[in-house]
């Protein structure tokens, strides 16, 4: 089991994190931005679980942390989607580029 060193997990999760970041920065559509956020959150989950399992197995803090993150992600996604839908009503688009009336 321990044939895979912890650092490989961390590299995978960091890579996933920055894939999400890339998506978050380049996607124009708000829903796809939201998807990128989900990817990032998942990468953090991997971190927590891997740390828990490989370094600190005596308690389940990391595991619980990721459980709670999943719950929060659900709430966040729900509110974000509600906001996006409302934005769609007022702007008739959900392109983030089209929602920049306020600036400077």
């Amino acid at each position: 089991m321990n044939s895979i060193p912890l650092i490989h997990f961390l590299i995978v999760s960091t890579a996933l994190f920055f894939i999400g970041v890339y998506g978050f920065f380049t996607r124009i559509n708000m829903i796809t931005m939201l998807m990128s956020i989900e990817l990032i959150l998942n990468s953090v989950n991997i971190n927590f679980v891997a740390f828990n399992k490989y370094l600190h197995p005596e308690s389940n803090d990391g595991l619980f942390f990721s459980l709670f993150i999943i719950a929060i992600a659900a709430a966040e996604a729900a509110v974000a989607i509600a906001i996006i839908i409302n934005l769609y009503r007022t702007h008739s688009t959900i392109d983030v580029e089209d929602a920049n009336e306020m600036k400077l």
Partner: protein, 644 residues
């Protein structure tokens, strides 16, 4: 609780009452109310002064500080707390007298001057606020209290200068005054922080005690730690002086003072002649032992800045045509005198002559300069203009003002036996014994002073015909306007006879003032020459002089030509003094010093525009900045901890 606290409380109450209910319910009563409270404060000040100087002030032949009111206001740390209190010592008593007296005069004068003004009650509430803050500043027992009231003085003068807020120039002026002095206050604040950081106390008595005792660890620490090669103590003192220079309009922080003349004239008399502008001098005097004993270098800065400002302002005053601006520059020049008098002084005994002279001059100057402003107010009231060209020949219409103005001019020029002579004399003596260069600059400046003052005097009251169409119907003003002028005129004549050195000295021990007439000859001669010049140029209208010349015909002309008196005069005064020195100085003042401050404002706006790209309105760009910022911060941290 000592009754002294009433000195402060009464004006404050008057401020609150006329501020809150004045406009609706009190109307004209507000003026009476404020005046009464100030009168009460003045009476208490006088009794305090009497008791302090003649009854219980001296301990073993020496005036010592008393603390009739002192309560702990809040605690920073167990050994550093802020007190609010009242400090009674020679200079604070003297200032109490000056402030309450001048304020009383201005209050009475304003009863007539501001009559019919729509915001009459507001005006009086602001005046009371100013008086309150100035008194609080004067009696402060610690440097923090000084700072609070210092700022309050700034605020109330901002309100008063901007009183005619429908005039854009008044608004701009008040804003400028506020911002420039705040800029200087920054120096003061930094100075306070440095001084209190090393002394571990905010109390004046502790600061002075700890910084003047050469064996104290506080002094050692403050001297040994340095920044840019200058010790922390010097930095602190110089920064405090910068704060003082801002309020006292020393070069180059004086730019606000001439503009501040946009306020009502009585306000100028109160703020820009007698009280607020000397706050800087007072502050240096307050900390004087520290300057004199532990840090002569900082004191030298005070002297140089003082004498330079004095000469600089006197030169510019010769070129101004706005009567109040002339007075403003002359104030700056006289405060320069006080400043360098402190700068050339030593601590204690005969060496402390400069200190005593400076305070003396502060005292006499307050009286005659307030008088000058009040007279100017009457003149402006009469002709409805600030410009010299709109005046002239007013001697007949304004006889009392004419006399009062003349007395004040003689006083400021240092002609014996008027008050200014005695104080200026002491200053010059002190300067002579300390630094010859300063002395000579000062003597010449004194001559210039009488020149520009009498130029003003003759231009107002003699030259030309009275401009009848601008003449107003109310004559010289009400008795409430005349009475203060008369009282102050008496003061200007007599104040010099007070044996000041017996009461106010650097170490509390009396000092015998001695007037050495031989020494005095030179300054008196120079001042008189200045007056003669002024008479020659400005007493008669220049055009009239030419008409006269044509009448006398060739005899006169050839006589004049032959002697070349006119040409020499022309050459010396107009070409050299005026064109070569005074004009460039005025230009420098207007364009470089003033322009610098405007440039800062413009540069900020340009910078602001160029950075606007940042706030693009795009949430992704925002997040990208967030990430980039995070990474930068992270690298910075790791690099700093040498973990990279």
């Amino acid at each position: 609780m000592s009754p002294l606290i009433l000195i402060l409380l009464l004006p404050f109450l008057s401020f609150v009452i006329s501020g809150l209910w004045g406009r609706k319910y009190l109307k004209n009563l507000a003026g009476i109310l404020s005046t009464t409270t100030v009168l009460a404060s003045f009476v208490i000040s006088v009794t305090t002064a009497y008791r302090y100087f003649f009854v219980d002030g001296k301990v073993a032949g020496k005036f010592v500080a008393q603390y009739p009111v002192d309560f702990k206001w809040l605690e920073f740390t167990p050994d550093l707390s802020i007190h609010l209190g009242i400090l009674i010592d020679p200079i604070s008593v003297m200032m109490l007298l000056v402030v309450t007296f001048i304020s009383l005069m201005v209050h009475i004068y304003s009863l007539g001057y501001m009559k019919g003004e729509e915001r009459y009650a507001t005006y009086y509430s602001f005046l009371s606020l100013f008086t309150f803050s100035m008194l609080g500043l004067v009696v402060a027992t610690n440097i923090f209290q000084t700072y609070i009231f210092w700022e309050l003085v700034g605020v109330s003068s901002f309100l008063l200068i901007g009183f005619y807020y429908s005039k854009p120039s008044a608004v701009a002026a008040s804003k400028k005054a506020f911002i420039v002095t705040r800029f200087a206050d920054l120096g003061f604040l930094a100075g306070i922080l440095i001084l209190s950081y090393y002394s571990g106390s905010l109390e004046f008595k502790d600061i002075i005690a700890r910084y003047t005792d050469s064996s104290s660890p506080h002094l050692q620490a403050a001297i040994s730690s340095s920044f840019l090669g200058v010790s922390a103590l010097s930095w602190g003192l110089v920064l405090v002086f910068i704060g003082g220079a801002g309020k006292s309009a020393m070069f180059p922080l004086h730019v606000w003072l001439p503009d501040a003349m946009e306020g009502p004239t009585p306000v100028s008399a109160l703020i820009h002649a007698a009280t607020m502008v000397v706050a800087g001098v007072y502050l240096v005097a307050r900390l004087f032992p520290v300057y004199a004993i532990s840090c002569p270098a900082a004191l030298h800065v005070v002297a140089v800045v003082g004498v330079f400002s004095s000469a600089f302002a006197a030169l510019i005053a010769c070129t101004q045509t706005d009567i109040k601006r002339v007075l403003a520059y002359s104030t700056m020049s006289q405060i320069g005198f006080m400043m360098f008098a402190l700068g050339v002084s030593g601590y204690g005994g005969e060496a402390g002559l400069g200190y005593m002279a400076s305070m003396f001059h502060l005292f006499t100057h307050a009286i005659f300069k307030a008088l000058l402003f009040l007279c100017a107010g009457t003149v402006i009231h009469f002709v409805h203009s600030n410009e010299i060209k709109d005046m002239g020949g007013l001697k007949k219409s304004l006889p009392i003002t004419h006399i009062a103005f003349l007395l004040a001019c003689l006083a400021i020029s240092g002609i014996p036996p008027f008050s200014g002579f005695f104080s200026k004399e002491e200053i010059l003596t002190a300067a002579y014994h300390h630094d010859k260069l300063i002395f000579w600059v000062a003597v010449v400046t004194a001559g210039l002073t009488s020149f520009y003052m009498f130029r003003l005097f003759f231009s107002i009251f003699y030259r030309g015909e009275e401009n009848t169409h601008a003449q107003s119907h109310h004559g010289e003003g009400t008795s409430s306007m005349l009475a203060p002028q008369i009282i102050l005129a008496f003061g200007s004549v007599l104040a010099g006879l007070i044996p000041f050195g017996k009461f106010v000295t650097s170490d509390g021990v009396g000092l015998e003032a001695h007037t050495d007439w031989n020494f005095s000859l030179l300054p008196i001669a120079l001042s008189s020459t200045g007056i003669l010049f002024a008479i020659y140029f400005f007493m008669k209208d220049n055009d009239k002089a030419e008409v006269l010349a044509s009448k006398f015909g060739s005899v006169y002309i050839s006589l004049k030509r032959k002697l070349y008196i006119d040409e020499i005069y022309e050459f010396v005064t107009k070409r050299i003094i005026f064109n070569l020195i005074a004009q460039p100085a005025a230009w420098f003042d207007k364009n470089i010093v003033d322009g610098f401050i405007n440039t800062i404002g413009k540069a900020t706006q340009v910078f602001s525009l160029t950075t606007s790209v940042w706030q693009s309105g795009k949430v992704q760009a925002y997040s990208a900045w967030l990430l980039a910022g995070t990474l930068v911060v992270l690298i910075m941290c790791l690099y700093y901890l040498q973990l990279l």
